[in-house]
């Protein structure tokens, strides 16, 4: 029996202990609740400290321009396919691109895809910011770059997503844009360059130094817009002469005019700092598997072209020689020794295989040149289009060649004069003149294989361009296969485009690619579906 007092203590202890337990449990719960302190603070934790949610139009423009030029005048497009299809260059080790094998769907998908989600999307943001600021000095140059880029897309693939593209982050915007007919794309490209050119007439140099091409100069962009307008207009000459003529007239008579000297060229000058190098020189740094094409060298050598020593190296034998396009690897391989490399100006100083010196790292990439504009004018004149007449053709033609010489650093006036006087070169007018214009334009486009390929499709010149014996198709491709990504995730729209345009293969001709009325190039188009 516990004494009363003790019992009391015991009871008290019991109560105390119970309370203590309760207290401890409650304290625990309180600590726990404090630990939770859920809710608001958490949103702050997720504030991204790494990246901004907005960017200046200037920094976006710089990047988009660099990215776009790197793509279309670099190794993912130009030296991937353009230069081989145009047969400026040939592959001499593994010939997969040159035989068109590695231009199939799998291989061009990345180029198509990235053009949209990289430069075109960024350019769209710049245009939006420029319009919001009511500043044509911002939106108009971006619009011109958008046209320059979109032209590569539509000329390479035909119908492309365009009018409803790039809007998935806008209210109601579709993530699966339909494909626009190429004709509609062209119509909008014309409108865009016209609108940009008009607006640039009263714009200020808002982009300033952030514009790596013209430092924001509105007058320079206006000339680029008009010149680009002329390039596009001439492209459709075989399919819609009237529109081509009207658009050429518009380009030539627009305020600001077109390029009037090589100083006007749209050129991206590369810093050459080891990071932003001319993409061709960056490739030559480690790759030695391209040589001059026989097609190209044979014509230049035949004409004793003064640009040849600029375009090409001599071989060990001291001569200029080309390699055949589209042969198998064992056949191609001896040409590593016996065919000419590209000229010193393309080389980046040291390479991993030999040292040529060369300013290649800083070599400008030419988006559009005075010489090309003159060739367009020469052709327009010969065809009596765009307000010009055939009597003016020879002048434009000769000036175009001279401009190209100047552009490539050929200064020997006597050599140029004797070149212009050669029977093959001296302007003959008529159909022969159109052929001469096409061939000379093809020569001057060295380094822009895409445009050289587009022009060949339009003019069939030079007619010696033909697929090599190991080519996987018996014709030079007239377009690329659509993107595998697009087939996967935007398949219905791709199929609609295929229904509109024709089978999704190398052979289907895009809208403007109709057989030329003149000149004709018999034989080369054999086998084209």
């Amino acid at each position: 029996m516990i004494p009363v007092t003790r019992r009391h203590t015991y009871m008290t202890n019991m109560i105390l202990m119970t309370n203590m337990r309760f207290f401890r449990a409650a304290a625990g719960a309180a600590v726990m609740a404090g630990l939770m302190a859920c809710g608001n603070g958490l949103t702050d934790v997720n504030r991204n400290p790494n990246n901004p949610t907005d960017a200046s139009a200037a920094s976006l423009f710089t990047n988009a321009t660099r990215t776009s030029v790197e793509r279309w005048l670099g190794t993912t497009y130009d030296w991937r396919g353009g230069e081989f299809m145009a047969q400026h260059l040939a592959e001499v080790q593994y010939t997969d691109e040159d035989t068109y094998k590695r231009l199939a769907r799998a291989f061009m998908t990345g180029t198509f895809d990235a053009a949209y989600y990289q430069e075109l999307e960024d350019l769209r943001k710049v245009i939006g910011k420029g319009i919001a600021a009511n500043d044509a000095g911002i939106w108009a140059p971006a619009s011109v770059m958008k046209v320059w880029t979109s032209d590569f897309l539509t000329d390479s693939w035909g119908d492309i997503p365009y009018s409803q593209a790039l809007v998935s982050d806008s209210a109601g915007g579709s993530g699966k844009p339909p494909y626009d007919k190429q004709q509609a794309v062209y119509a909008d490209l014309f409108k865009t360059t016209s609108d940009a050119a008009t607006a640039l007439g009263s714009a200020s140099a808002s982009l300033g130094a952030a514009d790596p091409i013209y430092k924001g100069d509105p007058a320079a962009w206006q000339r680029f817009a008009n010149s680009l307008h002329a390039r596009l207009a001439m492209r459709i000459v075989n399919v819609d002469l009237a529109t081509a003529s009207a658009e050429l007239a518009k380009a030539f008579s627009a305020a600001g005019g077109v390029f009037t000297s090589n100083a006007d060229n749209a050129a991206l000058v590369w810093p050459g700092d080891g990071i932003n190098d001319n993409p061709l020189s960056a490739s030559l740094q480690t790759r030695d598997d391209y040589r001059m094409s026989q097609t190209f060298i044979n014509i230049l050598r035949g004409y004793n072209d003064p640009r040849l020593p600029v375009f090409a190296h001599t071989t060990a034998a001291g001569t200029y020689a080309g390699a055949p396009n589209g042969v198998n690897a064992p056949t191609a391989q001896p040409y590593i020794v016996s065919a000419s490399r590209v000229g010193t100006i393309f080389f980046p100083g040291a390479t991993s295989y030999t040292t040529f010196g060369g300013p290649g790292a800083t070599l400008p990439s030419e988006l559009l040149t005075y010489s090309e504009v003159l060739f367009i004018q020469a052709e327009a004149a010969e065809r009596n289009m765009g307000g010009l007449n055939s009597g003016q053709a020879a002048l434009f033609y000769n000036e175009a060649i001279a401009a190209s010489m100047e552009q490539w650093g050929v200064t020997d006036a006597a050599a140029i004069a004797s070149y212009l006087a050669r029977p093959e070169v001296a302007y003959q007018g008529g159909t022969a003149g159109l052929t001469q214009i096409a061939i000379q334009k093809w020569i001057s486009l060295f380094g822009d294989g895409g445009n050289a390929w587009f022009e060949w499709r339009r003019t069939c010149q030079p007619s010696t361009i033909a697929p090599g014996p190991a080519a996987v198709v018996s014709y030079v491709p007239r377009r690329f296969y659509y993107s595998q990504t697009e087939l996967s995730v935007n398949g219905a729209n791709v199929l609609a485009a295929v229904t509109d345009q024709g089978t999704d293969n190398f052979g289907t001709r895009v809208w403007w690619d109709k057989p030329a009325s003149a000149p004709t190039c018999a034989g080369v188009t054999l086998g084209i579906p």
């Binding site: 337990r21 401890r24 449990a25 625990g28 600590v31 726990m32 630990l35 939770m36 859920c38 809710g39 603070g41 958490l42 949103t43 934790v45 997720n46 400290p49 790494n50 990246n51 901004p52 960017a55 200037a58 990047n63 988009a64 080790q93 997969d96 769907r105 291989f107 198509f112 949209y116 989600y117 990289q118 999307e121 790039l166 809007v167 998935s168 982050d169 915007g173 579709s174 993530g175 699966k176 844009p177 790596p212 810093p271 080891g274 932003n276 480690t286 030695d288 198998n328 690897a329 064992p330 391989q333 001896p334 590593i336 020794v337 100083g349 040291a350 390479t351 996987v472 697009e486 996967s488």
Partner: protein, 1076 residues
């Protein structure tokens, strides 16, 4: 007498009903009674005591007592009385049935079985296995350390059902582990790892393009899984919580299951220190190398002459082996005239010209070097030591272990060193308060890991290696006279020794993990625990490239480097109340209530440049080209409240409910709070209906569970951002919109899962079966969906889709032989099959590209299992014949080639013991699933694999193959002859040709051990000394040619693709274990 007594009576009635013991009706028998106890004299409840021959018996009550009566008809005979209880070795006694009462006690010693005992479950809570309603498999340290593989994950291989693993092969490399199939399309599908209650990072650095995608340096080095830092010798048990049901209390981290690792602790040893030493030394060799041809040397079109290795000679810039026949000729390796354009025209070798090679420009016999790849590899050596001290008193216990691992790799100049130290201790501060903690320091230091993948991998080179190349010449001469690279080809390859000796690579990881906890015994039935723990590491990776390296370096400069540093700090704190209360003798309640906070901080910084100025100084102050810098910081916080409650009725029926609410920082405020419930039940049928135990059955349990868990997003997925570049265009800043469009309205992922299970023990636990069937479905997947590029984005973050997984797992554990002489054979087989199905993606989207390489995709396609190889197939006509152009097969469009999911996987382990000798071995089975082998694609293309001999000529003038198929131009059967070279090259990027059935059987490990005599052990003051011969990865049977089918070059979700992985090693070695 309680419930057990009632059950005994029930049993008696049941016995009558089932006619088991007709003699019971007679009253004049011998009554037998006694007590069954375990070691230490504790009574054993529920043991069966019986006379099998007479089919009579009873079960023990709560005091371990039993009593039954043998029939009078047997009086006068002597019978065997057996006492059996699952989890104990049975015991028997001879009893003479006298007619009067007989007393017979039994003492049972425990024996291991998969079906009883205590397991560690979610939150580190221990539970009776009998009360567990979900699938949890425990692997003990004894089972783990048979193979002494220092990778804890590899040690689980083949031992746990439902778990699929793949390794990337490199020593110190990583392992991908997936439990019950992938739930998430793009998220992490690997389980959560928890060591002593604290989550541990298993950051994956095993993918092809590691470490944030170093632009210059796509090294593809496998930097290992962070979980490998754990020393297997420190592990007491590993509990695998298979999927959402078992792991529900982990809420948003539970969907992929949890691997709970409990480390060894000190115990009360009355103050003495116990020392344990384990040592092993193994010799490692490549397990599988490709089967090379040795009949044709380097070259193309049948000819080869070396001048400069860059195309200056005949085909000498090319690196394939379609050159002249390796017949020992010394002249005539090129044709006269040199015109291979028509391969079928007659060719004559020019015998006036010597056959020149890279090491013999003036000619050398043209012979094969069959061992030129295998001789590149060394015999690797792995020395692993662990020394552990433990001890304690009744108040304080501690354990300290120090472990080291030193590896000399199978590739030259590759070493790997790991050092672990783990200190753990606990202190009973008062009778109510226990404080415990542990701290672990780990240092990993790896020199010159071999790269995998295409750009600088060793094995990449070995799918091109000219068959006449003498490896010894390359070994002896890495640099040329002019100081540059010396090699057999200068267009595409670095000398493989140059890669290992001239391009120093080092990666070091310093890691500290630790936790502190205090447990207060509030009342008999209530404990409160507070615990905090962190996992902190810093990881530095440097990779340098010497001047003259043919890739990554700008030739105008003196070399290149890349540096990467990563810091991670994950802290988890918990406060938990655990209640355990018995209400009378029939009911037991368990409850847990807790709160937790998880805070993760992570950042990485990297820099690289393609050009340094002074050779050999690889840092930013010596950069000639401005280094490109990137950095990334992330933070995530998740707060949680959770609780569970269970009731156990009569020790045989348990029902448990759990709930957890998480608040995650990575989701929008509107959806960042989410609740995850689960319910499970376990019914021990053999205790509920004891008559079940009277036959061969000794234990039957059924279980079932439903759970809903999920996952939050990665940080910063709510708002689309712009991305700047550290490098300027001249001086101009460059910024681009992110290619991934974010979603401000993300919701958490959800996984609903149900499972049922059956556990059966037969013959006193000599045969046990544990089976589960589960079905789970994950919805609202957070996916970076590939969208139409024309939308302006490459991908879009979105909640979408549903993936279902259902499957069956079984574990069989048998002891076919157990003799009185001490011979025992124990064998276990586990089997798992999982069927996965992508039920839906976003509206209108029927595929998601998980991974793309070599122009082939790994996709999640609606209606297909997760992970189908969607690749380029042969061009075929309507009848399925190959369509051929100029005699060569064409590659058509992409299509589904097969699923990477295995049909089933299994492991078969055998363990033989005879006295002091043990033998164990484990086979792994992997049936079905597809693997796309880029190694095989290139090995055929380059003509160096034996397979590519098909169609080769006698010597160049009668070459070729006529491929069976339809000529695309004529529609007629093909008659055009092509060369083997043309044929094998035409199969480039044809995934249909190079996708294989990934079935294999592996002898994963074998151990033969001997306990040295006890007197020798005691001379060493040890209780036992064991020496063993061990072997890992000893034998593989597979139909996949040339590669180890187990490996892929990624340990992330990109499974099913293989290329140029360093071969897994076959190790043979010795192990010594001294136990105090």
């Amino acid at each position: 007498m309680g419930m057990t007594g009632k059950i005994s009576r029930f049993l008696a009635i049941a016995s009558v009903v089932f006619g088991l013991a007709p003699a019971l009706a007679q009253a004049q028998g011998t009554s037998i009674s006694g007590q069954v106890t375990g070691t230490g004299g504790a009574p054993i409840v529920g043991a069966s005591v019986s006379i099998p021959t007479l089919r009579v018996g009873a079960f023990t009550d709560e005091a371990g007592r039993y009593s039954f009566t043998a029939p009078a008809s047997a009086t006068g005979t002597t019978v065997t009385v057996m006492a059996r209880r699952l989890g104990f070795a049975p015991s028997s006694a001879q009893v003479a049935l006298s007619g009067g009462p007989v007393a017979q006690n039994f003492s049972l010693s425990p024996s291991a079985t998969q079906l009883t005992g205590v397991v560690v479950t979610a939150l580190g809570l221990t539970k009776e296995r009998s009360q567990l309603g979900t699938a949890v498999q425990t692997v003990s340290s004894g089972e783990l350390n048979t193979s002494h593989d220092m990778n804890i994950l590899n040690q689980l291989s083949g031992k746990v059902s439902g778990v699929v693993m793949s390794q990337s092969g490199t020593q110190g490399g990583s392992t991908n582990i997936v439990i019950r199939g992938q739930n998430s399309i793009t998220g992490d599908n690997q389980p959560l790892f928890i060591v002593d209650g604290v989550p541990i990072s298993n950051e994956n650095h095993g993918s092809f393009s590691c470490c944030g995608g170093l632009a210059i340096d796509n090294t593809g080095k496998d930097y290992g899984s962070a979980i490998n830092d754990i020393n297997p010798e420190d592990v007491a048990t590993v509990s695998v919580l298979k999927g959402p049901n078992a792991a529900a209390l982990y809420g948003s981290r539970a969907a992929n299951g949890v691997i709970l690792i409990t480390t060894k602790k000190g115990a009360n040893s009355s103050g003495t220190v116990q020392t344990q030493l384990t040592s092993s030394y193994t010799w490692d060799t490549p397990s599988i190398l490709p089967d090379y041809q040795n009949q044709y040397g380097q070259g193309a079109g049948g000819e080869f002459l070396f001048v400069d290795g860059q195309g200056g000679g005949v085909n000498d810039g090319l690196d394939q082996s379609f050159g002249p026949r390796l017949d020992g000729r010394t002249t005539g390796c090129n044709f006269v005239p040199n015109s291979p354009s028509n391969p079928f025209a007659p060719h004559t070798y020019d015998t006036s010209v010597p056959c020149s090679q890279f090491n013999a420009p003036n000619g050398a016999p043209w012979v094969a070097h069959p061992d030129n790849v295998s001789s590149f590899f060394n015999t690797g050596k792995t020395l692993a030591n662990t020394l552990a001290f433990s001890g304690g008193t009744d108040r304080a216990q501690a354990r300290l272990s120090v472990g080291s691992q030193q590896v000399e790799g199978i590739v030259p100049n590759n070493t790997f060193r790991k050092f672990n130290s783990l200190l753990s201790g606990s202190l009973n501060v008062t009778s109510r308060l226990t404080a415990s903690g542990d701290v672990q320091y780990i240092n990993n230091d790896n020199h010159n890991r071999a790269g995998t993948g295409y750009n600088s991998g060793i094995l990449e080179q070995f799918v091109w290696f000219g068959r006449q190349v003498d490896m010894n010449v390359l070994r002896q001469n890495m640099t040329s006279a002019s100081g540059g690279l010396y090699n057999w080809n200068y267009d595409f390859h670095n000398n493989p020794f140059w890669l290992q000796y001239q391009n120093p690579g080092e990666d070091v990881r310093d890691r500290v993990t630790g936790n502190l906890s205090a447990r207060y015994h509030v009342a008999d039935w209530l404990d409160a625990t507070i615990r905090t723990g962190s996992d902190i590491y810093r990881w530095q990776i440097n990779q340098d490239y010497a001047q003259g390296n043919i890739n990554y370096t700008n030739p105008s400069y003196a070399g290149a480097y890349t540096q990467y540093a990563e810091y991670s700090n994950a802290n988890n704190s918990d406060l938990m109340l655990n209640a355990n209360k018995r209400a009378g003798s029939h009911l037991q309640f368990n409850g847990t209530l807790g709160g937790a906070r998880r805070l993760e901080r992570y950042n990485n910084d990297q820099q690289y440049t393609a050009g340094i100025i002074v050779p050999g100084i690889y840092n930013s102050s010596n950069a000639g080209i401005t280094p490109t810098l990137t950095s990334f910081v992330s933070k995530r916080q998740v707060n949680s409240l959770y609780g569970s409650g269970s009731a156990t009725f009569n020790d045989w029926w348990t029902v448990e409910v759990t709930g957890r609410n998480d608040w995650s920082s990575t989701l929008p405020a509107a959806t960042n709070s989410y609740f995850y419930p689960s319910i499970n039940t376990s019914l021990v049928l053999s205790d509920a209906l004891p008559f079940l135990k009277s036959g061969p059955l000794s234990y039957v349990k059924v279980r079932g569970s439903l759970a809903n868990v999920g996952a939050d997003a990665a940080p910063y997925q709510l708002q689309t951002v712009y991305i700047g570049q550290s490098t300027k265009f001249g001086s101009l800043p460059q910024v681009t919109l992110d290619n991934s469009q974010k979603d401000p309205n993300l919701k958490p992922e959800k996984t609903n899962s149900g499972e049922v299970g059956l556990e059966v023990g037969l013959l006193d636990g000599r045969a046990t079966f544990d089976m589960s069937y589960y079905a789970k479905s994950t919805t609202n997947q957070i996916v970076n969906l590939t969208v139409s590029p024309a939308s302006g984005f490459q991908s879009q973050i979105a909640n979408l889709g549903r993936i279902d997984n259902k499957g069956f797992e079984a574990l069989v554990d048998l002891t076919p032989i157990r003799t009185a002489g001490g011979f025992q054979w124990n064998t276990t087989f586990n089997y798992s099959q999982n069927q996965s199905k992508v039920v839906s993606l976003a509206p209108g989207i029927d595929t998601y590209v998980i991974y793309t390489d070599w122009y082939q995709n790994l996709e999640a396609r609606v209606g297909q299992p997760y992970g189908v190889i969607y690749g380029y197939k042969y061009d075929r006509d309507a009848k399925g014949n190959l369509l051929l152009n100029n005699g060569l097969p064409g590659t058509g469009a992409q299509g589904v080639i097969g699923s990477i999911q295995p049909k089933w996987i299994g492991g078969w382990n055998n363990d033989f013991r005879f006295g002091s000798v043990q033998l164990s071995f484990l086979f792994d089975f992997h049936r079905g699933g597809k693997i796309f082998s880029v190694t095989n694609m290139w090995g055929d293309y380059t003509g160096i694999f034996k397979n590519s001999l098909k169609g080769r000529e006698v010597d160049w003038n009668n070459p070729g193959l006529v491929i069976q198929g339809t000529d695309a131009a004529t529609g007629q059967p093909n008659t055009t002859r092509v060369t083997a070279e043309q044929y094998w090259e035409s199969l480039y990027y044809n995934a249909e040709q190079y996708t294989y059935d990934d079935s294999y059987v592996k002898l994963r490990n074998l151990r033969f051990g001997v306990d040295l005599p006890v007197n020798f052990a005691s001379w060493l003051h040890a209780s036992s000394v064991n020496v063993a011969l061990i072997g890992n990865n000893l034998w593989t049977h597979t139909k996949v040619p040339n590669i180890d089918p187990e490996f892929s070059y990624s340990t992330g979700n990109a499974q099913g693709f293989e290329f140029a992985t360093i071969p897994n090693t076959r190790s043979i070695g010795l192990n010594l274990r001294i136990v105090p």
